[in-house]
Symmetry: C2
Subunit: 236 residues, 2 copies
Amino acid sequence: MKLIKINQAWNGEDGCVNCNIRKQALFGDLTRQDFDLLHLPILELGLSAGETLYHADDAASYVYTVRSGMIKLVNFLPDGEYRIVRLLRPGDLAGIEALNARPYLNHAVAMQKSEVCQISLTEVELLNEQTPHLCKKLTALWQQVQNDADVWLGQLTVGASGQRVVRLLLYLADTAGKSEFVLPSGEDMGAILAITKETVSRTMAELKRQGLVQTESPLARINYQGLEQWLKCVDQ
Amino acid sequence: MKLIKINQAWNGEDGCVNCNIRKQALFGDLTRQDFDLLHLPILELGLSAGETLYHADDAASYVYTVRSGMIKLVNFLPDGEYRIVRLLRPGDLAGIEALNARPYLNHAVAMQKSEVCQISLTEVELLNEQTPHLCKKLTALWQQVQNDADVWLGQLTVGASGQRVVRLLLYLADTAGKSEFVLPSGEDMGAILAITKETVSRTMAELKRQGLVQTESPLARINYQGLEQWLKCVDQ
DNA sequence: GACTGTCATTGATAATTATCATTTTGCGCG
DNA sequence: CGCGCAAAATGATAATTATCAATGACAGTC
């Protein structure tokens, strides 16, 4: 984990005011005056792929706004297996459950080179008392948590393995905003879909053979409509 | 759905002040003064088993605090199958996602005879602006959403069918606070665990044979520690 | 009390997926 | 440029689970 820079929260060309994802993120609704209430500068951190942002049950002091890349939230099972319960994209907030002095629920690990802003929990709680602008955004971020859980439970852990893989590809394309995106490792895809990496590999191979997916090193490009069609046709 | 009574929010013997689950519920932290800000009385509704509280995508005007019984949140899949994504117990809030003018995400259906309090969304939003006491509770309720999603994704949709059934039984005992509770139908258990009702039935039969579970009409009594042991031993 | 529909149970079989083993590929690093 | 490691791909087999079908239990109704 590497310190990239320190933002003087509002001012300066690298301040929040110029942040390209601020609108969607925690501080999206704050005014100039609100920012003046912040006591500490905001640290921006760089993570390389595989690096851990925090561990479950860590005493939590920060939440993190994802600026770029992708962070996975991981649960470890008693038997050593692991399961990915959520993927965080730019604009998402990691560690939101730490509000009200709760521990982190999961491990947060970067899946790619990523950047996050580290925000002190006490600052968030103070701000939340002194301005009403944070509350709405927090609610929206909580709704996002529920939304994601809904997709996970309703689509990604149901049905045949092929359907799950295809739905995941569509989901990744949706969140990336385009049909080209960084493809998670086979093991990670398995941990998301609750199937083995071998089954993932076989399904991906089949989809490539059908020309619906192309991979190039870490990137995948998918035929979005083709995969949607595939979902409808198969249904088996 | 049947109107049971109308609570004058604070006053009276049937008011919120005397509610046995208020401490954990949405209004748990409100003061006498806060209640005076409420304009409308609170309706208490009775649901019989199988009755629908609201549908996904309904224009949402209310949230509901569960007072007794159990409510399931259901998603329907394109192919007609359904999936239960959460179970709501006394103290839980149904329709929390409707804050900020969002539609309901799921269908809410009573699994047993249940009672809920109907709370107007506009009242919640007004209260939230005028007193800080609601915000903390709301956060706690959101955390509960995430917590449940975590359990669902991390334990109930992973591993062999037997493990899933056992983990669900332990979960139901935990939320009921005792080892005796109303057992969902086989189909519902399947919809929670993403397995078929037949597989559920076979597993339950085996557990009964081993004396770890007893059923009596709608109730089940489990040997909690025995099932925990079973989980450890099996691991297969 | 017979009827009827719903739900649970159980069996037989087919399909799917996990597991284990092996080979291949790709990539970082000296 | 090759070495070595890790991840992916692939094959063979076993185990699990879904599916289909039939039966049994039970509650509500006329």
